[in-house]
Amino acid sequence: MANAQPLLSVRGVSKAFLGVSALENVDFTLKAGEVHALLGENGAGKSTLIKIITGAYRRDEGEVLLEGTPIFPRDVVDAQKLGIGTVYQEVNLLTNLTVAENLFLGRQPKRFGLTDVREMNRRSRAILDTYGLNIDVTAPLANFSVAIQQVVAIARAVDISGKVLVLDEPTASLDAHEVEMLFAVVRQLRERGMGIIFISHFLDQVYDIADTITVLRNGRLIDTVPVAGLDRLKLVSMMLGRQLEADVKRTIDPNTAKAEPLVSLRGLGKRGNIDPLDLDIRQGEVVGIAGLLGSGRTETAQLVFGIERADSGTISVAGTPVNMSSPRKAISHGFAFCPEDRKTDGIVGDLSVRENIIFALQAQRGWMRPLSRSEQEALADRYIAALDIRTSDREKPIKFLSGGNQQKVLLARWLATNPRFLILDEPTRGIDVGAHAEIIRLIIDLCERGMALLVISSELGELVGYSSRIIVLRDRKMVSELTGDEISTEHIMKAIASHGATGEAA
């Protein structure tokens, strides 16, 4: 392995889209029997590089050599035939077909001109056996968990291509157990001498599995370094190009705790969603909601915002009980809600940044009183500047923005309605480290300007950083409310784990 020529080498590759450079003179070398992590913030050029290697894009300059021979893959299928297989974050298999059909689609064994199903199933079992996977290959793929689908996707890619395997954020939707199973497979493939390119946002996983790391930033190669002995802080600063500030707990003005609550919930609950709970939220306060997935966090937010109707309890706004029967009502009381899944519940991908920003405000005014074009443009420009939304142009369709910038547009949409009370569900999920810090700064800033916020997050450190108070949910019940010095990751974990944690019956 030591002196072997590289399996895949990329030399001086550049790519530009409409004159904007996405990748500039990048070198990348993958050896056989190596797991090579490709890191960088969103927009660093990772996916452009991957797409050039896998044939989805064509390079403008430079060369790609596979085992010393220049290759020019026409498309993904061509790259597969050359020996470069890819497994994407959202498994790109067909869940309505059987496991065996997925493995052999397009190359089914034949007998007398017809598909030899028995032979196909037998060979599928043999292939999956080598991955330690013993499943019914005649069952539809939909019957299996994402992790198993992921392994089937890898098995297919390896069986077809067999030289280079690109794993594009394969672990994003897997739990710890499943990640371990996947990594066992990856290690096994490394033993077999395959070259594996691994893309992930999770640094822990990168340290766990990778041998070498290449960091890209703004389309340029920053460095390629061995993982062993690499300092984490150094790696993060390579990715960000700046030093990360240490997390500090925000100092909270003790006077806010004495003010009259803006929103108060009394015995608010809905059977099967969340048990009745009491909660006060004051102006200038960030109330954090912590808990495991399925503990009732999002359900609570949906009750408060009128998406789900409560079957018990009351909501008062500034001391007056209100009937929160629909999101429209909630908006009319000055509420705003950024949902968790921005792709399905938030952004309208084909509309421009401007149109996405003015949505909620226009809905609040009613369609009879349209915002004029100049008002819309002024509003959009103001928020693009205020929130530092990176877009070339306010008329750009939002689907072309990175995750972090989409999240900021969503925030801008609600800020434009000038809300008194803002609910954020996982505001930092799936966005890169830099945008992450900006969103947190924004939350603190809004709070200091007197807004009341309710923030749901899985990142406990982050919650501890900005919350004035934290409520902890478990099994659809509020189990603890932490204030002042009690606020710490340790206390949250204890609250979640208390009473011998019966586990999640979601």
């Binding site: 067909l94 089914q108 598909t115 968990s145 499943e178 999640e504």
Partner: protein
């Protein structure tokens, strides 16, 4: 959960058996090969085109043109046999080539212009019907002796029933369809298109070829169905087979195929055809019921099957969600 794939098919089968049991208990005479033979003969043309429709719907599409193509085929045959001395067999070949090319062209438009199948085949429906009118607006009888020869071909079944040529053609088409769907690459590609187009493309499915192939197949079978229809009626008429595309879609859906594509079986469509045929036969036996009752019962059955499919999807979505929640909970506690 593995059963859920076969559940709609099973439901269809149960409905069919129930319907047959009810029919027999009211009219014991219906349990005869004579009735069975007639049922197959009367629905032969519908069954043949429904096989094509099954492939189209499995791929996530729809073909509204088949009724018009059947009428066109009949008119074309009757006119060509009246005005020229071409042998019917040669005419069959010509008309099948025409309808196959017509289907392939629609498939090409759907794929290459990225148009919804609904619109493209709606245009095809008007086009084919219009051309039939252009050929003739009258009902033209077919008197060629070869037609009589074909019409007299049958196998006598025990009990006196006749399995006619056109019924045999239909059964052969179903057998062919089942093998094509389950045992060939093309069949798997059809399911793949209906499952997820993007994934299919990334996995190297030749989407263009398959799309064109599917609509060409549907066009070919509509043409064959038109030939069978002309044998059945001994005439060509441009107003014939109006709404047959909808009967075919109904048979496919009652047969348990998901309208959004990806799930279903050709064999289910056969049961769907048989159920429709049974209802018609029942009405004929009864003699007092209006034939519109066929439509009413079909309508109710369609509602039932759509509700069943929705319920199954809802159930599988729910269990998938539960699975996700359970594994996510594991992850965060680990």
């Amino acid at each position: 959960m593995k059963n859920s794939k076969y559940l709609p098919l099973l439901a269809t089968f149960v409905v069919f058996v129930l319907a047959y049991v009810i029919c027999i208990s009211v009219f014991p005479n219906m349990l005869s090969t004579r009735v069975a033979g007639n049922l197959l003969t009367d629905n032969a043309f519908l069954g043949i085109t429904a096989v094509g429709m099954t492939f189209v719907i499995l791929s996530g599409g729809i073909d509204l043109s088949v009724g018009s193509v059947i009428a066109f085929t009949g008119v074309f045959l009757s006119v060509i046999l009246r005005d020229t001395s071409i042998h019917p067999l040669a005419a069959f070949v010509i008309v099948l080539a025409l309808t196959t090319a017509f289907g392939a062209a629609m498939g090409g438009v759907i794929f290459f212009l990225d148009m919804p199948p609904f619109i493209v085949t709606l245009a095809g429906m008007f086009l084919a019907r219009g051309i039939s009118y252009l050929l003739t607006t009258e009902s033209v009888p077919i008197t060629h002796p070869f037609y009589s020869t074909l019409q007299d071909l049958y196998i006598r079944m025990p009990g006196g029933g006749r399995l006619t040529l056109i019924a045999m053609i239909m059964l052969a088409v179903f057998a062919f369809g089942i093998i094509l769907a389950q045992r060939t690459r093309f069949g798997t590609y059809v399911y793949a298109l209906g499952g997820n187009l993007t994934s299919a493309q990334l996995m190297g499915v030749p989407v263009a070829k398959t799309t064109v192939g599917i609509y060409a197949l549907s066009g070919f079978l509509a043409g064959l169905s038109g030939i069978v229809f002309s044998l059945y009626t001994s005439a060509g008429y441009s107003l014939a087979a109006v709404g047959v595309e909808l009967d075919a879609i109904a048979a496919v859906v009652i047969g348990g195929t998901l309208l959004t594509g990806g799930y279903g079986f050709v064999a289910g469509t056969f049961l769907g055809i048989c159920i429709q045929g049974l209802i018609q036969t029942y009405i004929v036996f009864d003699g007092t019921l209006s034939s519109w009752w066929t439509k009413i019962v079909i309508g109710l059955l369609l509602f039932g099957f759509i509700a069943l499919q929705r319920g199954l999807m809802w159930m599988s979505e729910r269990s998938a969600r539960n699975m996700r929640h359970a594994s996510a909970a594991q992850a965060s506690s680990a």
